[in-house]
């Protein structure tokens, strides 16, 4: 039985997904302001690490990292609405890449499990 990460397509799929995902997020007026002034290449690398993590791939993120990494955004108003918007784009990106629905569900569950850390609750 191959892992979720392998079923989605592994590192190669992450390469394909990251720009689609980042472009979706940046184009969304609900959340794009949180990305103003960020270094795009570094952000893209972080998003790839995030995608890899929620898809069950090798990663070194911890709940504490997610907390620290988003604390300043929570201070400037990051809340559930924004989290939901990002999750929507996560699902949309995987759909666009033709990933099967049940696999997408598993990824979204993994993302959901990080909601409290990301929103610093």
């Amino acid at each position: 039985m191959s892992t979720l990460f392998e079923q989605i397509g592994g590192a190669k799929a992450m390469d394909a997904a990251v720009e689609l995902f980042y472009r979706r997020v940046l184009s969304d007026d609900r959340i794009s302001r949180f990305f103003d002034g960020v270094d795009m290449e570094r952000q893209s690398a972080k998003q790839k690490a995030f995608l890899t993590m929620v898809c069950g791939g090798p990663n070194s993120y911890t709940g504490l990292d997610m907390r620290k990494g988003h604390a300043h955004l929570v201070k400037s108003g990051l809340n559930d609405t924004h989290f939901n918007a990002v999750a929507e784009h996560l699902g949309g990106t995987l759909e666009e890449l033709g990933v099967a629905k049940p696999l997408i569900q598993q990824v979204l569950q993994a993302a959901e499990s990080m909601r409290a850390d990301i929103l610093n609750r």
Binding site: R23, D39, M40, E41, R42
Partner: protein, 339 residues
């Protein structure tokens, strides 16, 4: 407290103070320009002691391996001691000014002849050092086969290097060059890929070089060159570029100004709007963006959203020199500010 030794003398550093600031504060002249870890003018070498990783960000592996670091981004741990082996003299190549030619009211074409081999890719940037150590970085507009290095220098109000070059420097004067650095250059391959080149002010220098480099390499895809300025006086090499475009049917040159009269083949309006109008779907293209940092960063984002891949966008935002009062900076560059 940490401290650094330089020429057999120890100098204390304030908490969080960089090696560059600490040495300058205590009267040691160290060449520098951007103070942002980008232009590499303040390169130094450590003989002993731990160099923080951050101080080597962006350096070539060969320099890292020899313990070179950027003094402006080097903040040793509290209590640490760093012995400096001197600055980057051994990396600096002597050169002589060959010619100084006005391209417009305030842009000078400076040609230098290196007196030792100086390898570079057209579009990269180098640090120019005057005999007294004054340093500024400029993009290279020439092609390696031309033998001389061509820089475009804008005269800035109160600009130390640009003022000297415009008013006092003479052909034959001795200078030194260091570098190059930066990844804004043409790489052969995919000759049919459309290229989008956009720059403001002397951001034209690397683009002028890259366009000629690509054409000489046999690039067959369309090359769209956009040069933006506030008003027509800010444009330069207009005739030269029109002639080049007349000789190469795949080169499209579009000068653009924010303020000015319509006509004369110059677009009036915002540069990004012109680009969107002329190149509405740049998916799969390669882009080179140089000049004003706000414009470079905003164009980079717009082109990414329009479908360009980040790895195909080469951006070089020109940062003001930190040794000048705000707003009146000479240019140093951030090669790809987002790398």
């Amino acid at each position: 407290m940490s401290r650094v030794s330089y020429q057999a003398q120890w100098y204390p550093l304030e908490p969080e103070e960089s090696v560059l600031d600490g040495l300058l504060r205590q009267g040691i002249p160290v060449p520098h320009a951007c103070k942002a870890g980008v232009c590499q003018s303040c390169l130094m070498r450590a003989a002993r002691g731990a160099v923080p990783e951050k101080a080597q960000a962006g350096l070539k592996e060969t320099l890292k391996a020899r313990n070179y670091f950027l003094a402006c981004s080097c903040r040793p741990e509290p209590g640490a001691e760093l012995e400096l082996a001197g600055d980057a003299d051994e990396l600096r190549v002597p050169a002589r000014l060959e010619s100084l030619e006005r391209l417009s009211q305030d842009v000078l074409r400076v040609r230098l002849r290196p007196e030792m081999p100086f390898e570079y890719r057209t579009g990269q940037y180098l640090t120019l050092l005057r005999a007294d150590g004054l340093a500024r970085s400029y993009s290279v507009a020439s092609l390696p086969r031309e033998g001389v290095l061509e820089l475009h220098v804008r005269l800035l109000p109160g600009g130390a290097m640009s003022g000297w070059l415009h008013a006092e420097a003479r052909p034959g004067d001795a200078v030194r060059v260091q570098g190059p650095a930066g990844e804004c250059f043409y790489v052969p391959g995919r000759p049919e890929q459309p290229l989008l080149l956009a720059g403001t002010g002397t951001g034209l220098a690397p683009l002028y070089g890259i366009v000629r480099d690509a054409l000489e390499a046999g690039h067959t895809g369309p090359l769209w060159l956009f040069h933006g300025a506030r008003d027509p006086r800010g444009l330069y090499l207009v005739e030269e570029l029109r002639e080049l475009a007349a000789r190469h049917s795949n080169l499209h040159y579009r000068p653009s100004v924010l303020e000015g009269r319509l006509g004369e083949g110059i677009h009036v309006g915002a540069l990004d709007a012109l680009i969107r109008e002329v190149c509405p779907k740049p998916v799969g293209w390669r882009a080179f963006l140089c000049g004003n940092p706000d414009l470079v960063l905003s164009l980079r984002k717009k082109l990414f959203l329009a479908g360009l891949s980040l790895k195909d966008i080469h951006a070089d935002a020109f940062l003001p020199s930190a040794s000048r009062p705000e707003g009146a900076g000479a240019t140093t560059r951030a090669s790809d500010a987002s790398r």
